[in-house]
């Protein structure tokens, strides 16, 4: 009896002790870090969704530290698909990394508008960037919140070997493009590596194919000014064009996702791959012998062929950071040509800093093509807002069209209705 009572008591005491030990421990730890930081080195953390770039980022950070030995930066990426959730939750509770990798356009701007980010209008070097790049992280209040990091582009990749074998040339018009599709099919290849199982592939493809039919930038200017609509002939035609490509897509395309269509392309089953610039590295890694090239999307309405571009990410500063000045220094480093050159070489992506040359021929050509004749990825750049977003709506509706549940006209109507629900210029 007695021993039981004693045990109860001890157990309770132990529990209380553990609790207090825990709390005092963490307090002590916290204080220790703070002191250390203020006395000698400043420690910054950096959040990102690019887990695959950890080594490259380390090189960039090392370079930065050569000039700023008292600032230490820890690159702490989280998984691409979980990054938003992790970041949002952390920011909500007043935490999160000091330097934040910002999603482009609506989701990033949402963070700025909610007051989680520090404005950086006075940052040196921002004037290098064109207005269109800065727009990716400009708050609704007109202030700048992020330094643009890289430009993504979408275009049609093609297998040079197959094209040479069949004597095909890069198309200059939509008709030529369709002709190529036909020839490839007759020769037993799958012309176009595109699947509809994952919706994002469809808005991505429409971002390339659409401008060829709605007339690229002119239409974008008109619709963002509220002067035309998604139910206009121009836009409906762009949806119809997606429908016309059906026969040239792989068998069972409705069940194919990203992995599948990528595999079809690098194994040489299919000849063309409408995809983004970030896949170049992956494709080369999967099949080093693949002879890879690209062409801009040829127009159906007599305009120049276009490469679709947008800012893929920016870097911003956490408004709750205790070391904003140090973080600013790093952001400023990200606007320098030194960084831009290093970035293109290390990451094999197109730097958002204009005029940076790359040693990689393909990346260089792409950068040039994008400089010459680019059109924005419209639904991402201008229509990623709303709930569900217009971008999501067009993805779902296109999926419906490929499954035979929707006509192109119905798709256009649904997109218009969704955009009207939140996009001011389209509200009458």
């Amino acid at each position: 009896m007695k021993s039981l009572k004693a045990f109860t008591f001890i157990a309770l005491l132990a529990f209380v002790f553990i609790l207090s030990a825990c709390s005092s421990d963490s307090e002590a730890g916290g204080e220790g870090n703070g002191e250390e930081a203020s006395e000698d080195t400043i420690k910054l953390t950096m959040g990102s969704w690019r887990t695959e770039d950890k080594e490259s980022y380390q090189k960039v950070i090392d370079k930065f530290q050569e000039e700023n030995p008292n600032i230490e930066i820890e690159f702490k990426p989280s998984k691409n698909t979980e990054y938003n959730t992790i970041l949002n939750t952390a920011l909500k509770s007043g935490e999160g990394p000091d330097i934040i990798h910002l999603r482009p356009y609506a989701p990033g701007i949402e963070l700025a508008d909610n007051g989680y980010l520090e404005p950086i209008d006075d940052l040196e070097g921002l004037d290098k960037f064109p207005e269109s790049s800065l727009a990716a992280s400009k708050g609704s209040d007109g202030k700048q919140y992020g330094v643009p990091l890289n430009i993504s582009t979408t275009q049609i990749f093609y297998n040079k070997k197959i094209f040479e074998e069949l004597n095909l040339e890069e198309p200059q018009t939509w008709e030529e493009f369709m002709e190529i599709n036909k020839t490839l099919k007759e020769e037993g290849y799958t012309p176009l590596s595109l699947g509809t199982k994952e919706g994002w592939l469809l808005s991505l493809a429409h971002g390339m194919i659409g401008p060829a039919h709605y007339g690229a930038n002119e239409f974008v200017d008109n619709i963002t000014a509220g002067e035309t609509s998604f139910t206009s002939d121009k836009f409906v035609n762009s949806i119809k064009a997606m429908d016309e490509l059906k026969p040239y897509m792989p068998e069972n395309y409705e069940g194919l996702g990203m992995e599948d269509i990528r595999t079809m392309f690098f194994t040489g089953d299919s000849a063309m791959f409408p995809m983004g610039s970030w896949e170049i590295e992956v494709l080369r890694e999967m099949n080093p012998d693949l002879e890879l090239d690209f062409f801009p999307m040829p127009s159906a309405v007599g305009k120049e062929p276009t490469v679709t571009t947008w800012v893929d990410g920016s870097y911003a500063i956490n408004a709750n950071s205790e070391n904003k000045e140090a973080a600013k220094k790093f952001l400023q480093f990200m606007t320098t040509e030194e960084f831009g050159t290093m970035f293109t070489e290390e990451f094999k992506m197109i730097s958002a800093i204009p005029g940076i040359e790359s040693e990689d021929q393909l990346v260089n050509d792409l950068g040039k093509a994008a400089d010459e004749n680019s059109t924005p990825y419209m639904v991402l750049v201008h229509f990623a807002g709303g709930n569900p977003s217009t971008k999501t709506t067009i993805e779902t509706e296109l999926q419906g069209m490929y499954l035979g549940e929707r006509t192109p006209e119905q798709v256009a109507e649904a997109v218009q209705k969704n955009a009207e629900s939140w996009y001011k210029p389209l509200q009458k």
Binding site: N88, N387, S389
Partner: protein, 318 residues
């Protein structure tokens, strides 16, 4: 004198006993703290969130029941809700048939002591040991339309015309996922039912046999009534699991319940509302998401409660 000390001792003893009785109640405290922090608190937080207007992640004004109203009346939210709700019901019905029905039959066969019963028991349970994400990935490979094992097999045995883009066709995608889920949960059902069979007194069955009950009659008249507790447990668990179905859909079809929302469930829809799409392409609606979470919680608890009450009555009648 003697009497006084005796009564003092008695009081002391009484106190001791009281303390002992009382101290027992302290033991659940650690568990209660954890439970409160991770279950009760979020529940009430979601409830309060659902009464507010949300601008992204910042809480706006108190709007009363507007979020609930929007969830049920405003397009496209109401459309998504009923679409997902229907899928959850189908999930439950098909799980009951394929997972629990099959598990019941298999458990009965194993109970009848066929050869290799132990081996079978373990094999049925094996999938359960894998992570759901792994299961989802494996079946995605198997069901791939162009190189997946299922379609290749169909081709090989001359049933090529039955080939399908199983996960890409809205008519088959949801059913495929439910069947994968049933495969995954089968072993657990077998274990529960087997335990149920084993707890039935042997004498009852012998008595039944003497009275001439054989085969199906035995199952219907003796086994099933005595298995009511196991059936009840499995039904409730399946019900809860069906209405919270998330992982497999998310792993195999993404946060949009693709294709064309044909595999959307309430939990996936909730994820989409509260946390946005997975690739950073869409904004969040915390208020609507919270309202949906509250509705889901109420629905599951009310139905589970009613069902348990009904079944308990049935047991007493027996």
């Amino acid at each position: 004198m003697q009497l006084a000390t005796d009564s003092a001792k008695e009081v002391k003893k009484q106190k001791k006993r009281n303390w002992k009785r009382w101290s027992i109640h302290l033991f659940p405290i650690p568990a209660l703290i954890i439970y409160g922090l991770f279950v009760v608190y979020p529940l009430f937080a979601a409830l309060t969130y659902s009464f507010f207007d949300w601008n992204g992640m910042v809480r706006g004004d108190f709007v009363g029941l507007k979020n609930f109203k929007d969830l049920f009346t405003l397009e496209p939210f109401s459309g998504y809700f009923w679409n997902a709700f229907g899928h959850n019901i189908l999930y439950f019905v098909l799980q009951m048939i394929f997972q629990n029905g099959l598990a019941f039959a298999l458990a009965y066969i194993i109970f009848k002591k066929i050869r290799g019963a132990e081996f079978l028991k373990i094999s049925y349970f094996l999938p359960r040991l894998l992570s759901v994400i792994v299961v989802g990935f494996l079946w995605k490979l198997i069901l791939n339309p162009n190189y997946g094992a299922l379609n290749v097999l169909l081709e090989k045995i001359g049933l090529g015309h039955l080939q399908e883009a199983w996960l890409g066709d809205p008519d088959t995608a949801l059913i495929a996922i439910i069947l994968v889920n049933s495969w995954y949960g089968l072993g657990f059902g077998v274990l529960i039912f087997l335990a149920g069979f084993q707890s039935i007194p042997k004498e009852l069955m012998e008595a039944g046999k003497l009275d001439g009950a054989t085969g199906l009659a035995m199952v219907r008249k003796i086994l099933i009534p005595l298995m009511i507790p196991s059936i009840m447990i499995m039904t409730v668990l399946t019900f809860i699991q069906s209405f919270e179905a998330f992982e497999l859909v998310y792993a195999m079809q993404g946060s949009q319940g693709e294709p064309y929302h044909s595999t959307d469930t309430l939990a996936v829809y909730f994820y989409r509302l509260a946390f946005g799409g997975s690739t950073g392409g869409s904004t969040t609606a915390v208020g609507l998401g919270s309202a949906l979470a509250v509705v889901l919680f109420l629905f599951i608890s009310i139905f589970t409660g009613l069902y348990l009450k009904y079944m308990q009555k049935k047991q007493v009648d027996m």
